[in-house]
Symmetry: D2
Subunit: 163 residues, 4 copies
């Protein structure tokens, strides 16, 4: 396991600010549990509004928290004056997403100046609490794009994003 160092000492604040601006994460009830350099964990408790036709978590929730955790694992290593876009991801759904909570844990595999490759495992958690039995439900492999000199918070500046 590679240990990474953050370029920006305020990486955690920057990541949490960005997460808090995601209307969709609040809408589904997801929380940012942990962010360290090159790592991020996101959790979402079960509710019927998040299900697919068999009553398990919808694959869209699994994909959304895996992609978001992967993005912030990468973003934690980027410089202060950069923003991030997901270029692409691939996800294998390996078991029905059951449990009182879903937990996504993402780790950077390779950090580059332009592109960062991240993997993320998603688990169904019994009881929905740390220490509850966990079952792997999905594995993701993603490519993140760093846009240098673009703020992640367009409302705080006159910068606009044009990729």
């Amino acid at each position: 396991m590679t240990a990474y160092e953050a370029q920006d000492p305020n990486f955690e604040r920057r990541v949490r600010d960005s997460f808090n601006r995601q209307g969709f994460m609040a809408f589904i009830g997801a929380t940012l549990e942990r962010v360290t350099p090159g790592f991020c964990e996101i959790k979402v408790p079960y509710k019927p509004a998040l299900t697919q036709q068999h009553g398990f978590f919808h694959g869209g929730i699994t994909g959304a928290i895996a992609d978001t955790a992967a993005g912030y694992a990468a973003f934690s290593l980027m410089p202060a004056d950069a923003t991030i876009l997901t270029t692409e991801y691939k996800i294998n759904l390996v078991a029905p997403a059951r449990g009182e909570a879903l937990v996504a844990r993402a780790r950077v595999k390779k950090a580059g100046r332009t592109l960062t490759v991240v993997e993320c495992d998603v688990f169904g958690q019994e009881g929905g609490k740390e220490g509850g039995k966990e079952t792997a439900v999905a594995h993701l492999l993603a490519t993140m794009l760093c846009l240098h000199g673009k703020t992640d918070n367009p409302r705080a500046s006159r910068d606009t994003m044009n990729s």
Copy 2:
């Protein structure tokens, strides 16, 4: 473009029933616009609850409707006594997901007895109405698994899913 024929004449009802049992699709306001043998279209109007940190549709929404449209495009070709699981998908996000609505259109590339490969394009739609200017925002390639002899509606029978 391959033309497909449905094995089950009631495919549309079966797809719509399944879609309507997805709590998550209702939660985000998605509608099933069209389903024909091997094809499915899903649409979701913009609202702030569906956004990422820059105010565009969250990648999780793009992924969720693309995966769901791909699943039902495949499901339309399956026999009446089968259910479907997404094995995996890969998605490229090629432009910011802006517009009054997102529209996902999925087409089966190869239908097999066990596995079906589907592609899906997602567009941002100006005005949110048919005929509005559309911009491609994502491309998905997915593998769907057919479980024969399992109902898609576990509440309607005593069958249980064990994959």
Copy 3:
């Protein structure tokens, strides 16, 4: 289908020169059949040296010509002073790769300054000649990276690649 225009009028020569420097393409007997702006076709005739354990073309050959065709479809649209790297690709192998030849046809889906998304279909061709019956054996979706200001031919200059 989007029509693309090449930035570099000498794109075909540049693509063919690059292809000819690929020792591996010569080794397997692959030929560059066609390149137009945003499109590329590569073909490889059957020989036992290219097989997997069941006697069909090895998935590595399918992947190699699909990735290479996708790369040159993207490269055809890039400026003269750029080189290309495959960032990632995903490939679905949908049928045994049989036939007297394999043919890969790649088309750009979205051309960007930094990243280009390309799809490629691979067919097994009966008789190994144009007009022979073709069966789809694989579908690929790839992301290509354009490195501006780097020559594609390091032997022709003092530039070195450092990605």
Copy 4:
């Protein structure tokens, strides 16, 4: 890391027999270094015939040994009367594939009756010998399909493969 147990005590012989029937692995000079339940390592020494236009290993070689290692990691866990097909894989190429050898190491992430998910890391190895400095060049995530009741060696029986 999950520890797996092989269903078939002769798994190593079965894997090596299958590998030895792959004309393509011999053609490129690849060797099966190690196979244990759920794990497989394949190595290929550098030669100019295996290169792309910049003189590094071709992505097709990287993909081929990663896919093959992933397949045999999965195959090691399958019953004696089964064969295997790659359904799909996704690969990120994270650094130029330089070194005197390429080494692919694959590990099963989730073994199922029908589908098995495998990851594989590929390294460029200085000196081409165990203990030489290694640099990660690629990461793969693949889905393998188990065909029960089909022999992996069609020349040894009258079975034919029809997927």
